[in-house]
Subunit: 465 residues, 2 copies
């Protein structure tokens, strides 16, 4: 008998789930229907800052697979179609055609919720004014590109970025590339709150070197508007910051209203909770029959803190989709959780973190010892070598690694991967120190910066044997 | 009571052992005497190809610490002083001053053997002729630089590199940078025998694109000399290859004559055998009292094959030195072994491997399944993205990872580290697939190439759960 799969949301998690299911099950075994509220499928939201900055020329470069391409692979895919109600008891979803307004019910045996996330936009004066942008979807990016084409670069184009996290930093770079003077307004003492402050300071200095005005400890309270109603700057708790463009990088939250309305339980961060096979759980921890979820609308378990987090990253969404697709075909693939790895760059400065920083370790009730190493990305004598600072955290007593942060020149960021795997495998600092990382002068000093940090941390932890 | 440490060999392993011991023990606790046959200490032998190629301008850039700097840190360091005899029963070494010829005995409580390796130079006609170079020591490098200054670049300077491994490839690059036409003569069907042939083929194509004449399956049998007795080319089993410069990259072997003469047992590769704390073992596996060894003169255990190997790499030598120095001070630090990681580059082509390749897996009596992924170093749409091929091997049944090989553009090689740690932690392919590697468009596609290869390999292994 043909089973029916309904997927809500046509981006990374949803379409990967559908594709991986289709790869394993033919149309006789599984009928796949996808509802996507927008016009696009399978695009790189993470690429939008680079598109708006002009590093990537064309919107379509960000699209990995169009609706037509998905349809050609045997999916019944409906764009501009919003799912407005889930009937979990009746195993059906109610959709609304966004053009015609026509509604209809579609039954399912398996339901995949992949509704994604939405950018945080505070309910404060002016935050919905023209000239205030988020960069979460392709239409968001298009709106910002249109605004850039309209307003800039004039004689002194200015922009204010609100929020000093990943998107904020990436949008600072994009606006600099577009010729804007940029003010970065952010809440914490240093930008990149995912880093400990002394590493965040390195990021601030890098931003300042690029000419960015960094305003720390500043909560944006109002978007100032001109007589035309358009944004003309931001008022924060520390002052006024002029700019005809305002870009919000205040993070995202799971888009789970539909799930909540259907009675599904949400976690503390507003995301769906699933088991390792991405089957949705109810408030008691029991599985909701036939319902799966993945991507930016779920919470994931952090393997070090044991706590659930909301981490909106395409790489996790793709893995969730793979797990769902495989499990739909009877394979027992499991997503174990995350260790909180993230990388980004601004100009030539690369930034990476994994595991827990000091604040997060404290919040998880863990004690830690930390050490830093100042090293270089290549052998000190090799051309193109650049400074890199590596900070490592470990648990005293056991020596178990807790986290790493890196800030440095080209070649710094992806070094975090070695630590991410070490965290995933629950290695100690001593074990990390003796990992056989690649060494040659164009790629590393003889002690890789990560190993240099492990050596420094071992010295602080005392002899562990 | 003051103990006496004697170190034989003043490079990576020896000087790191001495420095780490000195860091933990003052002159009252430990008297440190180092004998170095050459004039230099603590230099980067791995940097010599880049120095000869002119990428690194000055010899002294390769020197991490001079004899004077070591002496200032409380070492009694003798250069140009050769150890000519070990008296293990009497716990003393006999040295010979290479200038005066004067000999004397020095007693020790602890002896560190760090005598390094020496390049293989076949006992065949012409291999000792002027114009035939190895690149193992600073004087070797100086001799080659002098020869380059003397002979080239003339109207058609030509060089022959014998050996297609790491040093061979790096010397090809160096000679290209010096304006030479280069012929690479090597024994195996493809260069880089550390890679499986289909990855080696990618290296050959990269070399050919750089204008190198690659001669595979060729055993060098004679260095041809002119009437002046100088090299004028190489004769191999497939023909004659003209070149006024001949560079040998035929590997190195442990320099252990002194140890052998003293009755110490050597392994199958001619290196000393030690336990995990780098204490020298005799033929029965018992510890030789007071004798330690590290660096290029020892054999190390391969964690996947369980077999001993000779791996001459500065990164291991430094770790050995750290282990010896810490243990001399009573810390129970242990060097667990290697997984065979190596990285290099030629032009823009990066090359990496870790674990076992197919030939090595077969030699270790293991069965394997392999898969390849063709991916990119950055998101496909991000400027500067370059192709990268990743091959992974795993054990059928268990899914345990066995090895990885990567060939690709800038950003490819150090991706091997994530797999090296996964091998060190004995992860399965499924576990690797779900590691939380850093993702952002400037650094990786949404599936990191390593994860893409894991996904492909999982498909071949069949559902493992």
């Amino acid at each position: 008998m043909t089973e029916r799969l309904v997927v809500v949301g046509g981006d990374a998690a949803g379409m990967t789930a559908a594709s991986q299911a289709r790869r394993r099950l033919d149309a006789q075994q599984l009928r796949i229907t996808v509802f996507e509220r927008g016009a696009f499928t399978s695009y790189s939201a993470c690429g939008i800052p680079y598109w708006t900055g002009g590093v990537v020329a064309e919107r379509d470069q960000l699209i990995a697979r169009t609706p037509e391409q998905h349809r050609a692979r045997g999916m019944d895919l409906h764009t501009a179609t919003e799912v407005v109600e889930l009937d979990l008891m009746g195993r059906r979803v109610r959709t609304r055609d966004r053009q015609s307004g026509a509604q209809q019910w579609t039954e399912y045996d398996h339901l995949v919720l992949a509704t994604g996330a939405e950018p945080v936009r505070p309910a404060l004066p002016g935050f919905d004014a023209p000239g205030v942008h988020t960069v979460h979807t392709l239409p968001d990016g298009q709106a910002l590109r249109d605004a850039l084409a309209r307003t800039g670069p004039g004689p002194d184009p200015r922009a204010v970025v609100v929020g000093g996290g990943y998107i904020g930093i990436e949008m600072v770079e994009a606006l600099l590339l577009r010729g804007y003077r940029v003010t970065l307004v952010h809440r914490t003492p240093e930008p990149m709150p995912g880093l400990d402050p002394e590493l965040g300071e390195l990021v601030r200095r890098g931003l300042e070197k690029l000419g960015v005005e960094v305003v720390p400890g500043a909560e944006a309270v109002e978007v100032l508007t001109g007589p035309d109603g358009r944004a003309r700057g931001v008022r924060s708790t520390v002052g006024e910051h002029p700019g005809e463009l305002v870009v919000l990088g205040l993070g995202v939250r799971p888009r789970t209203e539909l799930a909540r309305a259907a009675g599904l339980a949400l976690g503390v961060h507003g995301g769906l909770r699933t088991d390792e096979r991405m089957r949705v759980l109810d408030a008691s921890g029991a599985r909701v029959p036939g319902v799966w979820a993945g991507g930016d609308c779920v919470e994931v378990r952090h393997l070090l803190s044991g706590q659930h987090q909301h981490v909106a990253l395409g790489t996790h969404a793709n893995k969730h989709g793979l797990v769902i697709g495989a499990n739909l075909a009877g394979e027992a693939l499991a997503f174990p959780g995350v260790v909180g790895t993230a990388v980004t760059k601004v100009g030539d400065l690369e930034i990476a973190r994994t595991g827990l920083n000091e604040r997060e370790a404290a919040a998880a009730g863990l004690s830690w010892v930390a050490a830093r190493a100042e090293s270089t990305t290549r052998a000190g004598y090799y051309p193109g070598t650049a400074p890199v600072t590596v900070k490592l955290l470990a648990e005293p007593g056991t020596g178990r690694l807790l986290g790493a942060q890196l800030v440095g020149g080209p070649g710094a960021a992806k070094r975090v991967d070695a630590v991410a795997v070490a965290l995933g495998a629950r290695l100690t600092v001593t074990q990390l120190l003796f990992q056989d990382l690649g060494y040659a002068p164009p790629f590393s000093p003889v002690w890789d910066p990560v190993l240099a940090a492990a050596r420094a941390l071992l010295g602080r932890l005392g002899p562990l044997g």
